[in-house]
């Protein structure tokens, strides 16, 4: 009766990540679940950028789903309660999926019926008009956009939304736009507006300008071609200036999406009902057919999987927003063709890697020995085998442009159980046999299942492994401390949008190292730092993607600070009365915008 180990708590850091292009026919892609080949093919299709849509693509209403029916109540099973409802605090994928239904931002993703995504204007009329070489971006708000209390959403709210991101109490959300506006790395942006808008100060017009009620102009010092993607993050959804209660907003926010929160009992239940002030004509991506969602928390993955597989009674109408089929239920699902028809699957943008603490393990030969010895298959099997994860050769996920198939410098794909013999030789040559390796692993059922095999294989190679368990809920906090006592630990990271510019700099830029930063391996390499600066200035996305990939390979091959382990995949079930289901590879979960209840 342990709290089942957080598959997603491994991934929370990664936040709501943008996936990539369509998985063809992913709404029932499980007839071929065991086929790695098929997945590879799909992956290859995913590596192009999501295009920006124009005003026409951004105009509502969303195209009707064939056979869709309006109305009905959908029961939802969720494991974890929501810690944040304030958009400014939302960064994890669970809350991101919910935000899709209740919050709206300036931009958003729109999926066609094959799952192909386009980035369009959500509250704005289009995905943004760049000028001055991408330094200035202009957005115009649509007409008839209203808060759930019927008041208009104006540019004042937009200004307020971004200004409050600078306040101290907003500390869990994304920081890209704050950093870009202030042109400061790290948390230096807070000095620009230390109290947010609450002390009466505002961002100067030279940074954020709202000339009238409908227009917003962002002005950056450097070109920011990725701004429309950043604005689509749920963390940049709009906050009502009039209803902003600061810290208390996190519990009871004003919403603008097709649903509003009728009731929320922390850790127990939440009810979403239709927001009558949401006008479908202003929304090009959300159909929002059901009348009501009744969310129950504390439903473990195996429970929701069992109930949806059984498909009895009220569970025929049920879904889960983000619970996946747990590893132990997958073998059963594989023997149940009927339930397989009610599943969606696809990649998630996360990449699991063993981060070696460069401050402690300074000998490259030792790191090389770890790279050869480390078995990655136990990790994959602990998470459900090939359906749960795919073995990784490189650090760039198949969902991100720049991914290169077949990159595998240490032969991990050929020997997924590790090569202790090769490692032993390297360790002996280096005279480091018996090297004491303190490994912090996450104390979840999965961690219990993969760590002993990793330990024993590393011991076989001649390491003296000290395996320390770390509580799941504080895992990333503990490994995020720069001065930690561990030599290595697993971390997972996903791109915030399908560009490696949201992967390589946050993970391997040595200038970012501080407590809580995502550079878990404490990689601080001159070559990497200077390359990051160079590649960030490349305007052509394809060229930049290639360069990012090359740099990530340098991390694996030459520096050996991070050992790629697996790419995450997702498999979810839904009740037989749910229609219009497709996989949403932007959030890496079921697409909630198009589903309907058959009545």
């Amino acid at each position: 009766m342990r709290i089942r180990g957080a598959r997603r708590s491994h991934a929370v850091v990664a936040g709501l990540a943008a996936g990539a292009l369509a998985l063809s026919g992913c709404s029932s892609g499980s007839e071929n679940t065991d086929s790695q080949q098929d997945d590879k093919k799909k992956a290859a299709e995913q590596q192009a950028q999501i295009p920006f849509g124009d005003a026409k693509a951004s105009t509502g209403p969303a195209p009707e789903v064939k056979g869709a029916q309006e109305g009905g109540t959908i029961p939802v099973m969720q494991r974890d309660s929501y810690a944040h409802l304030d958009p400014g605090q939302i960064y994890v994928s669970d809350e991101g999926a919910l935000a899709r239904l209740i919050h709206r931002g300036l931009t958003g993703y729109k999926a066609d019926f094959k799952g192909k995504q386009t980035l369009v204007g959500d509250l704005a009329t289009d995905s943004g008009k760049p000028s001055d070489g991408g330094r200035t971006w202009t957005y115009t708000l649509k007409d008839n956009i209203k808060w759930a209390d019927g008041t208009d959403i104006t540019s004042k709210d937009v200004r307020h939304t971004f200004e409050r991101q600078f306040a101290e109490f907003i500390n869990d959300g994304p920081v890209y736009i704050q950093q870009w506006l202030s042109n400061e790395p790290g948390t230096g942006y807070r000095d620009m507006l230390p109290k947010g808008p609450y002390g009466g100060d505002h961002l100067p017009d030279s940074v954020l300008e709202t000339p009238d009620d409908k227009t917003i102009v962002f002005k950056f010092k450097e070109p920011k071609p990725d701004l429309p993607y950043a604005l689509a993050m749920p963390g940049y959804s709009m906050v009502s200036e009039a209803k902003d209660t600061q810290e208390k907003y996190d519990k009871d926010p004003m919403t603008a999406g097709p649903y509003k929160i009728e009731s929320f009992k922390t850790g127990k239940s939440m009810t979403l009902v239709k927001n009558e002030h949401w006008d479908p004509a202003t929304d090009s991506s959300r159909n929002a057919y059901p009348d009501k969602y009744e969310i129950t928390f504390n439903i473990q993955f195996e429970t929701s999987a069992e109930r949806l597989m059984a498909d009895k009674g009220v569970n025929k109408n049920s879904i889960s927003f983000t619970n996946n089929v747990d590893a132990a239920t997958l073998p059963k699902l594989n023997k149940d063709p009927d339930a397989q028809k009610r599943s969606v699957n696809g990649y998630q943008p996360y990449v699991a890697q063993m981060a070696i603490n460069m401050d402690r393990v300074k000998n490259k030969k030792v790191r090389e020995a770890i790279a050869y010895a480390l078995p990655i298959q136990p990790y994959q099997q602990a998470f459900g085998g090939p359906q749960g994860m795919e073995l990784a050769g490189g650090l760039i996920s198949p969902t991100v442009s720049g991914y290169e198939e077949g990159f595998d410098p240490f032969g991990k794909l050929k020997k997924p159980l590790g090569d202790p013999a090769a490692a032993k030789k390297i360790l002996e040559e280096a005279g480091e046999t018996g090297y004491k390796l303190t490994w912090g692993y996450i104390n979840t059922p999965e961690g219990q299942n993969y760590s002993p095999t990793m330990e024993s294989t590393l011991e076989e190679a001649g390491f003296d492994v000290q395996r320390k368990e770390i509580s799941a809920e504080t895992y990333y906090d503990e490994i995020g401390v720069v001065d930690n006592e561990f030599d290595m630990y697993v971390s997972a990271w996903g791109a915030d949008w399908p560009s490696a510019s949201t992967v390589v700099p946050p993970l391997y830029d040595g200038r970012q190292i501080q407590d809580g930063s995502s550079n878990y391996s404490h990689t601080n390499d001159k070559h990497i730092n200077s390359e990051i600066d160079r590649i960030q200035k490349i305007a052509d996305p394809a060229e930049a993607a290639k360069e990012w990939n090359k740099l990530s390979q340098y991390v694996v091959e030459d520096l050996i600070s991070n050992i790629p382990m697996t790419y995450y995949k997702q498999i979810q079930l839904y009740g037989s009365n749910i229609g219009g289901v497709q996989y949403d590879d932007v959030i890496g979960d079921i697409d909630l915008r198009k589903i309907y209840l058959k009545q």
Partner: protein, 325 residues
């Protein structure tokens, strides 16, 4: 009676005070920093400092403990909202007062407890009486034996088994859920019937064994034998006299069982995904949500102590010879 109650209340308060102090100081021996937990995924040193200040974690531990105690009487105020008296603190993880969370979960736990208690009392005591009544026969052996076997099954063993056999594969029962009794008593009972049954298995056999042995003992007592000698039918003797003697031990363990159940049946609530105190406490353990954990611990202890007082008071009613002291 009044003096008894006053004395026991004072005693209980002292116990709770010591208990809360022990828990409080033990919690701060935890090598992980509570501020880190509410700091979230992107915890920078500045954020950490800020949270530490707003949670009052920069005060020395005794001061924090004093604030905690004072909060119970005068309420406290947090940046995310007020916590009126009696304030048991505010969750680190959710922006919610601990007492609100407990009040929200307690009805589930109470329902689970009441239903399970009825089931294990009826079946446990009933089986024990039958076994004593037909002592030494095959029926006795069957009842005692099966109660022993059922009692040694663990919840984590039969819980999943019952779910699989009765819910997922056959659909004989719906998913166990909690519906408030006040809304729909029928739905309430139907949703909880499986958890009641499973939870009672570990308790019922205790009652069977005890009732059986005390009943048999009672049947040998003088007043019972006298009654029998006077020519009363054995049925009358059995149901009129003997069962009274079995009452005191039953009430004693019933009090203990109720007290511990009212604090949350952790494994059962978890197995059946019921939103009770047990689920709340286990979630707070794994999220290191210390105020909630502390609140649930204190609440559970209060329940245990309360049941003890009630049991002691009940003795006086059952057997007037026992004087309250």
């Amino acid at each position: 009676m009044l003096r008894f109650l006053i004395r026991r209340t004072i005693g209980a308060l002292i116990i709770l005070l010591i208990l809360s102090a022990v828990c409080f100081f033990l919690f701060f021996a935890i090598p992980r920093d509570p501020a880190r937990i509410s700091c979230g995924e992107k915890c920078t040193p500045e954020n950490l400092e800020l949270i530490r200040r707003s949670l009052g974690l920069d005060d020395p531990v005794p001061v924090q403990y004093w604030n905690f105690l004072a909060g119970i009487f005068s309420g406290r105020s947090y940046p995310t909202g007020d916590c009126p008296a009696p304030c048991l603190g505010r969750s680190f993880v959710h922006d919610e007062n601990v007492l609100t969370l407990i009040q929200d979960r307690f009805p589930t736990t109470l329902s689970l407890t009441i239903g399970a208690a009825i089931v294990f009392l009826v079946f446990g005591v009933g089986a024990g009486m039958i076994a004593a009544w037909r002592r030494g026969t095959a029926l006795d052996k069957f009842v005692s034996g099966s109660s022993l076997v059922i009692g040694s099954l663990q919840i984590y063993f039969i819980g999943p088994l019952v779910l699989w056999a009765l819910v997922y594969s056959t659909g004989l029962f719906g998913d166990p859920t909690y519906n408030p009794f006040t809304e729909n008593p029928w739905k309430w009972a139907v949703g909880l019937i499986l958890p009641w049954a499973v939870l009672s298995t570990i308790f019922a056999s205790n009652y069977t064994r005890m009732v059986r042995s005390t009943m048999i003992e009672q049947l040998q007592e003088e007043h019972v034998r006298t009654a029998k000698a006077k020519g009363m039918s054995s049925g009358t003797v059995f149901f009129r006299y003997a069962w009274r003697g079995a009452l005191i031990p039953v009430v004693t363990i019933f009090g203990i069982d109720l007290g511990s159940l009212l604090g949350g049946a952790i494994i059962t609530e978890f197995t059946f995904s019921l939103p009770g105190l047990g689920n709340l406490s286990i979630a707070s353990v794994f999220r290191a949500d210390l105020p909630v954990l502390m609140g649930v611990l204190l609440f559970s202890s209060t329940m245990i102590i309360l049941m003890n007082v009630i049991v002691d008071a009940a003795y006086a009613f059952i057997d007037p010879r026992i004087r309250l002291s």
